[in-house]
Amino acid sequence: MTHHEYDVVIVGAGGAGMRAALESSQRARTAVLTKLYPTRSHTGAAQGGMAAALANVEDDNAEWHVFDTVKGGDYLVDQDAAEILCNEAIDAVLDLEKMGLPFNRTPDGKVDQRRFGGHTREHGQAPVRRACYSADRTGHMILQTLYQQCIKQEVEFFNEYYVLDLILDKDPQATPEGEDVTVAGVVALELSTGEIHTFRAKSVIFATGGAGKVFKTTSNAHTLTGDGMGIALNAGLPLEDMEFFQFHPTGLAGLGILLSEAARGEGGILRNSEGERFMERYAPTIKDLAPRDMVARAMASEVREGRGAGPHKDYVLLDLTHLEPAHIDEKLPDITEFARTYLGVEPYTEPVPVYPTAHYAMGGIPTTVQGEVLRNNTDTVKGLYAAGECACVSVHGANRLGTNSLLDINVFGRRAGIAAADHANATADAAALPDDAAARVEGIVSRLLSTVGTTGSERVADVRKALQETMDRNVQVFRDAASLEEATEVIAELRERYARVAIHDRGKRFNTDLLEAIELGFLLEIAEVVVAGALARQESRGGHYREDFPTRDDVNFMHHTMAYATGEGVRLGAKPVVVTKYQPMERKY
């Protein structure tokens, strides 16, 4: 075992982690620990754009952006956080441009902007061009640019270090409200050697990304297994609003590979088997550019009502055939290539089969607007921060608008980086790491390694598949009490089976078999929290739609869910929503 000491340790090297690192490493001694090489992070798969009211191509302002974000989030957004997000958006884009990000340009050389779902002028009058973009690989460009800046700044990376535990000086659930709980460090498994490392730090930032692999049909990478969220939960910290999961309308049918909403921003149209532009019925004003939750539900409804396309009538069609091929090549080169490569469909001439795909966790580790992690509704954990998809600040509420997540990672990654470094610089000594800090991780690793060669055991892949299938069947776009109760039972059964899983690889080096077994543990924990929150929330709001409670219920459910893991299962609490300016209204588009 090797021990390290830093002022700031950042866990995760996607957009939020690297944006934080650029701030933190200028101010304090910083290490970035990452399961993947930084350039492999899933920020690089984001396509369509990053929202900011630059008003480069038409009239726009940050206040309209705030309103759209709040309304898009079905009024579960903390409005103080949304104001920060939208006000700081402009500098966030300009900062990236100055770092060298190659945005597409207007004829007069400015950053170009395009339309995206739910982004409107004058509070819903019509779509507005707010998304700053770089073809359909904006996330790729952000990831590359941040990585390049990290090279320039000589940020210290620990590549392929898989963080598995967070060490706090006290049990946050056993500590009375108002008393300090302080971060001490993290414990990581070095994948190339199997060695366990402890990192003591004054500040720790979690930027570990999402958990899309709880679902079968997902746009998420294999590696997005909710590790950071699961670690927080195991450390006794709550997760906020986990029942709100975004299903992106346009995944490649059957595969879930993302086709950017930019396809509709550039003029693409969704059609059912009858060729009808069905979104006109669901969102008469902004049609195909309605927020994702509404479009995803509309698509699923078309399929259920028998108007799905294809031999099994189980998907709808994204029609780009009326767009000029040159326009497609210029603005949507990658996603049209995905359609050709994976479905053999030529988007110039044929509509593309699409269906909703699990895409984004609106919920996560609760934080303040400075990125400080909350251990209950009011107390922060000293020195602990979170940003990006693993966090919930909450700027996305019940449904995130497209292009707001690339914005989120930049705005709140930056804030967390500054806050973590400032905290470290104001702290004389990090909390002590106990002598047995690594005991839990050593226990997990040695227990799983001891299963090699055992008989009568379960396979990781079987348990994971069963989990993903039950989540797709029961916890997707449409939910009700019966489906959620079924999912609850299946997950409980799978957790028992998980206790009996065996792996095959007995080695220490690059034991990716062990890695997948550990990841599955996190997936099961996250799924349990998602379902518990969805079962308790007897209303429909944003991405969470209950067929047995089809309307929003502001009287009983205008609050965030705070979920805690306890010895007796998931305990749920409520946290008030911050409302500054916009009272809840009916959500029509």
Partner: protein, 254 residues
């Protein structure tokens, strides 16, 4: 309650038996193998013609041999994790469909060449990233930054578009015969990375970068084999980018 889509082709097309031969190496050894010994192992999987090579590797790992080691993440050709040598050509496992490989014959999979193998299909990427870091892959400017964005015309932006697509998968560099034999050569990816900035109208560090590439380890090592261009899963015209860098060095003009 079901609201999920099955693959449109899933039950229309029958599965097939595909033989996958993998060049393996376990650094710690196994019951039958010495540590570090390289050997071919054959697996048979049931797969759809439209399955990716990555899907077949997962079937092996998940159902037959959990110790098989390879990197992967996004599974749709944008993260750059799973470059490997498939039927003697560098490709991304997640962007190569079985039907495009003549699955009637065994499919041979090896680690990419020229980087130290760590385990099975996993290689040490550090030398590759070290070359990238050497070409100063970041925007260099002088003077005060403008208040708003730096202006750049669509034409200027287009000038370096091709090389911005790079996902650093190393398929190009590890297909280069010069790179295999000459440990000093930066390799094509580092030159692509430099090209992306040299031809960016906002950048003022192009001559510093060109000087690095003019070095004995730089562009002049390229023998224009075109392997890199063929290997690039992003369709970047790598050889063209390298020749543009060579031309800039020869003419002194960008």
């Amino acid at each position: 309650m079901t609201a999920t889509a099955e693959s449109p082709a899933a039950d229309a097309v029958a599965t097939m038996r595909v033989e996958i031969q993998i060049l393996r190496m376990n650094p710690e050894g196994t019951h039958e193998r010495e540590p570090g010994e390289e050997y071919w192992e054959s697996f048979v999987v049931e797969a759809l013609p439209t399955d990716r090579v990555l899907d077949a590797l997962h079937k092996i790992k998940w159902d037959q041999d959990g110790s098989l080691a390879f990197r992967r993440s996004c599974a749709h050709g944008v993260c750059g994790s799973d470059a490997m040598r498939i039927n003697a050509r560098n490709r991304l496992a997640c962007k190569t469909l079985l039907k495009d490989l003549n699955p009637a014959r065994p499919i041979k999979i090896e680690p990419i060449k020229g980087l130290p193998v760590e385990k099975d299909l996993i290689v040490d990427m550090e030398p590759f990233f070290a070359s990238y870091r050497e070409i100063m892959p970041f925007l260099m400017t002088t003077g005060n930054a403008p208040e708003r964005e730096r202006l750049q015309s669509p034409e200027e932006r287009h000038r370096f578009d091709d090389t911005t697509k790079c996902i650093m998968c190393a398929a190009c560099t590890t297909s280069c015969p010069v790179f295999w034999t000459d440990g000093q050569y930066f390799g094509p990816q580092a030159i692509v990375g430099a090209h992306r900035f040299i031809f960016d109208s906002r950048d003022e560090g192009q001559w510093d970068r060109l000087e690095i590439l003019n070095d004995k380890a730089g562009v002049w090592k390229c023998r224009t084999a075109f392997n890199c261009t063929e290997a690039c899963p992003r369709g970047i015209e790598v050889t063209k980018a390298i020749s543009e860098v060579k031309r800039a060095l020869t003419t002194g003009e960008i």
